[in-house]
Symmetry: C2
Subunit: 596 residues, 2 copies
Amino acid sequence: MSGSVYLRDERAHLITENECMTDKPFTRRLCSCCSYATVRKRLPILNWLPQYSLQWLKLDLIAGLTVGLTVVPQALAYAEVAGLPVQYGLYSSFMGCFVYCVLGTSKDITLGPTAIMSLLCASYIDHDPIYAVLLTFLCGIIQCVIGILHLGFLLDFISFPVLKGFICAAAITIGFGQVKNILGLHNIPQQFVLQVYYTFLRIHETRVGDVTLGLICIVILLCLKFMKGHMKSTEPNTSFLVKSCCTIIWFFATARNAVVVLSAAVVAFVFTDHNLDVFTLTGKTAKGLPPFRPPFFSEKTENETLSFKDITEDLGAGLAVIPLMGLLESISIAKAFGSENDYRIDTNQEILAIGLTNVLGSFVSSYPVTGSFGRTAVNSQTGSCTPAGGLVTGSVVLLSLAYLMPLFYYIPKAALASVIICAVLPMFDYTIFKKLWKVKKMDMLPFLLTFIMCFWEIQYGIVAGVILSSFILLYRVSRPQIQISGEGVVVLKLQSELNFPAMQYFSDKLYKEALKASPPRSAIVDFHRVNYIDYTVVKEMEDLLRQFKDKKLSLVFTRLSKEVLSVFLAANLKGFTCSHSVEAALQSLTGTETLR
Amino acid sequence: MSGSVYLRDERAHLITENECMTDKPFTRRLCSCCSYATVRKRLPILNWLPQYSLQWLKLDLIAGLTVGLTVVPQALAYAEVAGLPVQYGLYSSFMGCFVYCVLGTSKDITLGPTAIMSLLCASYIDHDPIYAVLLTFLCGIIQCVIGILHLGFLLDFISFPVLKGFICAAAITIGFGQVKNILGLHNIPQQFVLQVYYTFLRIHETRVGDVTLGLICIVILLCLKFMKGHMKSTEPNTSFLVKSCCTIIWFFATARNAVVVLSAAVVAFVFTDHNLDVFTLTGKTAKGLPPFRPPFFSEKTENETLSFKDITEDLGAGLAVIPLMGLLESISIAKAFGSENDYRIDTNQEILAIGLTNVLGSFVSSYPVTGSFGRTAVNSQTGSCTPAGGLVTGSVVLLSLAYLMPLFYYIPKAALASVIICAVLPMFDYTIFKKLWKVKKMDMLPFLLTFIMCFWEIQYGIVAGVILSSFILLYRVSRPQIQISGEGVVVLKLQSELNFPAMQYFSDKLYKEALKASPPRSAIVDFHRVNYIDYTVVKEMEDLLRQFKDKKLSLVFTRLSKEVLSVFLAANLKGFTCSHSVEAALQSLTGTETLR
């Protein structure tokens, strides 16, 4: 008996909690919108700025500078992946640093161009900067709307296997996409299958200079990375010389992208100065800072004028895929680093930060940006304390734009390609195939579907994966486990929730066990695990109750939660009876039957 | 202690049942495919034919004849709704009767043209019989595939509110679509909104003859229906005269459609014979039986040749909507009558029967057919015993085609319109608005969305309704109820299953209650209600375990089912511990903590 009282208490607790969540008075909600707590939630800078210290400043400075030395070469390279002139990479790299400093809730995340977003954009913008900038603007607006409407939970439907399938495929696509630059091939189509075909078809056109430089760069990058991974922390009693050496190696290893690209540019400059054309160079770029102006909403080409409607139609599915993938990439990175460094991010606030970065970014000719895994890792490892490091990173990018652009002419494309290849190589996690097979074979399906379809078109892969994993989930929801027991009177215990797609299945089971049995028998349905029912369930139960009544049998519901009971009572079903326990129901039913 | 043993037993029972379902050896499955039981399942006629009796024959004859007298006028009228020449209605009405007699599992269902399918087809076939017949063929093939692959469960995702919203909207659309025929207006567009607009715009063109005849027909039909509904069963001691009168009234009331249409045709013939053109007549129709030939897979018009690809592209979404809606309509009717007359249908067998009817129907120029609610009701009420009544119905249709076609010239369109209006009127269930509001307000959303969108395009309405109701379901799945209790060590009891979209939500809760609490505390997670976990859940748990370990706290899982435990063990998580009960876990945790 004490057990049943306990159960009732549990339920009361649950319902009260629920009511608190939904029935908050409107006025209180309105008040809470304007409170200082809400302002602090919307402007996370207010949480850390008052406590800012000199110690933090030092660490943030170093982290910001290191990230800056990473972002400049990466930005140039990713612009190439997106199919845009290299300066657009830098245009996209500073706005996120400033905006995120004010609005971000993670100390590690750095927003900017990334390999995956560049690849996604490439398939929609068709080498046209006007398309890219407008896409950034629209993508930002959509992300802001998602953040304001608190639709962040949509990202929960991208399951881990789908995410992994997509990342593995993207790593291969992006990595292989740079092989043509290492080999110095031109005019290779963008679609993955064609790219593979034409790269191998024209492999004899390989330029020796490019391939030599590219391979050397890759080897150096890998060595530096390996050194960094295996550096031991210096013991306190080591000499000054050893300490200095360690610091220098650490600096070179951390800023390896900048070091390699700069060295390659110097080599290329020397060769060019001697009139030796052995490398494919980046070539002429626009000089100086980008203009601050709203994005163009239409485009005039030689032949025709493209209206806003034409451009949005061309962008098509990109307007759904790019905002969502941008959010997914950044938020999953933020969550990963949050879990490592023991803090939690506010998903909707993060979404707002990214959205606003893109909206403002479109005023400085940025293409869509998101959180970068590689640079976030650099930021975290160099010991950033707050998002203030972003201010330093942003300044480094702006300085490069203002003063270094003429130097970028000499950067060999093969060097940039080697930066990208080394950045995406670790993204391909081959162990996932084995893990999924071992742990949950069913999850191989959405993983493989996403992985394979992504080679056709990235967005198809993701959409197909999400649909398949939702479908598997829905199928499971539609087939609840039902435990059947009892002699004379059949007892059906629902082992999980009862939703509309499951109702027909449940009704068939009940019919088979009770009405179709010989002789037909009464039934008790245990709703202990059902917290919610919908109208389809009520309607089918009405039918079943009638059928039981026609055969002069009983159908009794037991252990209904308060909410489920109120739905049944509102429906006013004929012959509806319920009981607080299976035992009581059994007793009353067998009692009646003895009397008859 | 006995409680926990009981629990373990339950689980064992469940798992064994599951294993039986999935691990059936392939050879045994193969054997069961060829057994006599399977043949009987696939040819349900073998179940009733050996026991067929004279008594059954008499009742089936009467039922078949009555349905025949209903189907002929309805078929002519529905062809008009589908935008096809009237004879196509009859072409579509006989194949289903013969096929269903052999393959059907419901004694009541009669397959043939229906109001809703005609409306759906109208929007795809654009008055072209070649499109209609090819659509029938493809629709049949798709339905057969659904039946063979046992995909019938897909229909479970069309919830009751969506179905009701669609039926209510279809009743209005079809009913209003016939107002133009009652008024005798021509060249009214098909789209609902335009139809309403133009009908009212051109209401002054109303033809007095048509409107008079139409209204009289409606009144007579409603009176006859009312009489039938209120006829008392004759008492045994009434005179022969009263009995005969009752039988005659019953016959007229049951075959009211045929009576009204025939009478109207006679009136129209008399008027026409006197050269008075007061009614819009059906006009010339093709004579005789349709040719038996495969459907055309391409079409030559005056200007161009449409290939198979062109036609299927034109049919577009119709190739998904029409097969599925056809199945849904027929199966929901079969289920309704099964529950009334105490039998259950075999969904996948029904799907095969409908699919094959459509495939074979396309050889006799049929347009897509499905189960008709009105005629099934007539069949059931006149006391059909087996699907053999269909043979009589089919013969009536064939005889009409062979000998009565010249008479159909004189059938006034207003009379056919009145037949349709009286048939679809009861489909509009205005009480559903009130019921849904009272019982489950949340279900109003998919209902209203479907209802309103159906006026734009029927298929958009259904698709939108299914997506919205699946979305509501998925949202609920992604936010499981979690009961939190415990002091010192926090205990989280999951009140429902834990699936991938719920994992982030759960992880946030756990973080907030345990790791973020001050002081941080160990946690126990009760998996009692979780029967299944996916890789996303495992992955997130791995992260959480690491975070707990970093803070030197424990995360203990309790009451894992055998399946869930095996997944966790396969993943080989670091620091994974589990316990058979919450109490034992609490004891071990507090014990450890006292020791430390």
